[in-house]
Amino acid sequence: MYEERHDMSKVDRELMIELENVDKFFGSFQALKGVNLTVGKGEKVVVCGPSGSGKSTLIRCINRLEQHNNGKIVVNGHELTDAVKDIDVVRREVGMVFQSFNLFPHLSVIDNLMLAPKLVRKTPKAENREIAMRLLERVKIPDQADKWPIQLSGGQQQRVAIARALCMNPKIILFDEPTSALDPEMISEVLDVMIDLAREGMTMICVSHEMGFARSVADNVVFMDEGEIVESGPPGTFFDNPKNDRTKLFLEQILTH
């Protein structure tokens, strides 16, 4: 259990991510409606909600895999605009872990980790490899370094994906339903890695249905429905005392199985 929580009400939180009145349209469909959210340094945010509520769109706007239409997004002091320079700089400091892992199939595990540092930071090979191996040890699969991704199990692949994101030394990591595509017995090995990361002080935003993880790790749980943030709060309040009816309904559906 992770005990040290951040006090979200502190006035001088060092903000890493700010979303102010953010709208996002896909054609005529509005995926995000006036979203306001702040994430301070070292804080863990879990975003939950029904399908189509805009959770994935929200985090994909943060590293500009989607472009927001209205409002302001500031990541680590950089405002996200159309200028290309901004995007690359932001992406180097924000890591992302995908639901379907997205490991590069034509590269070995260790090459997957070394590619971005080589191309983006021009890290010399020996140093690059050393960092990569250390990270593989951290996610507990150093022996898989030279295998092809397809030879690994789902849980192993996702751990490699987390290590790959860590190789760029990001200040923030975004998780887009990291365990949703995994067989049940592999979920905990990935969650364990995420809990370790949390313990070490990483700023994390995680879209997930794993409510146990939210309860034990999150500083802020955010519930989204139909593009809006309906309710948010520390897990104690959120799970035990939800204020909004929609939140109550969702929690009932997801927690009684």
Binding site: L65, N102, F104, A116, V120, P149, Q151, R164
Partner: protein
């Protein structure tokens, strides 16, 4: 109607003298066509309409008209135009070999660019997003992620297209070139023995087709090591 074995044994070496020309036509057009195809692909996916639109028109025209007509236009037709006769390309364009290469390359470039495009589109979107999320630039994504995967995806179609190109080289015989087909036609004209000559030529072409397919199958196997599941 008898089957003249002696004629076959006599014709085959003669036709094989044309194999050098057949291969020259094939390899040269394949290489030039591939380069052109990549160039057209880049224009097509550039996102700029003034580059993509003319490219699409070009591809449409070259895939929508018979290659024989294209060969005739270039060999018989271009000399009609004065500016062609005055240009620096004239030495190439007045020779049947040059015309054949030009026609075959322009044609295969159009087909190949569509094949390459199919490969590029076949690359999983998630992989490109993962690379983007790591901060890898558009250009680097294309080189290190999209291209290797796209090439492997294109290989079957590229192999088929190479076979098609090989078959098209036979059309060079219609503009006086003495490749294998051209030699065969002369022999038949002299001997009135189409079966022996053409059937043996068919066998030769089939062997070449088989060789091409085997080569590409081998390349594909090597490139798919990371795709096959180890038992």
């Amino acid at each position: 109607m008898s089957f003249d074995i002696e004629l076959i044994l006599d014709s085959i070496p003669k036709m094989l003298m044309g194999i050098g020309l057949t291969f020259e036509l094939l390899f040269l057009s394949l290489v030039l066509g591939t380069v052109l195809g990549i160039f057209l692909l880049i224009l097509r996916i550039s996102g700029r309409w003034y580059l993509a639109a003319p490219t699409m028109v070009y591809i449409y025209i070259f895939r929508g008209t018979p290659i024989l007509v294209q060969i005739f236009i270039i060999y018989y037709g271009l000399p009609q135009l004065e500016f062609v006769r005055d240009s620096i390309f004239w030495p190439i364009l007045r020779e049947p070999f040059g015309c054949a290469i030009v026609a075959l390359s322009l044609n295969s470039g159009a087909y190949l660019s569509e094949i390459f495009r199919g490969g590029v589109l076949g690359v999983d979107r998630g992989l490109k997003e993962a690379a983007a999320a790591l901060g890898i630039s558009v250009r680097q994504r294309f080189i290190y992620i999209t291209s290797p995967i796209a090439i492997r995806l294109c290989l079957p179609a590229y192999s088929n297209d190479t076979v098609s190109l090989m078959k098209s080289t036979a059309l060079a015989s219609t503009i006086t070139l003495l490749d294998m087909m051209g030699i065969a036609r002369t022999i038949v004209a002299e001997t009135y023995a189409p079966y022996e000559v053409f059937i043996s030529l068919m066998v030769i072409y089939l062997i070449i087709t088989w060789a091409i397919q085997r080569t590409f199958a081998g390349i594909e196997k090597r490139m798919s090591r990371h795709v096959r599941r180890e038992a």
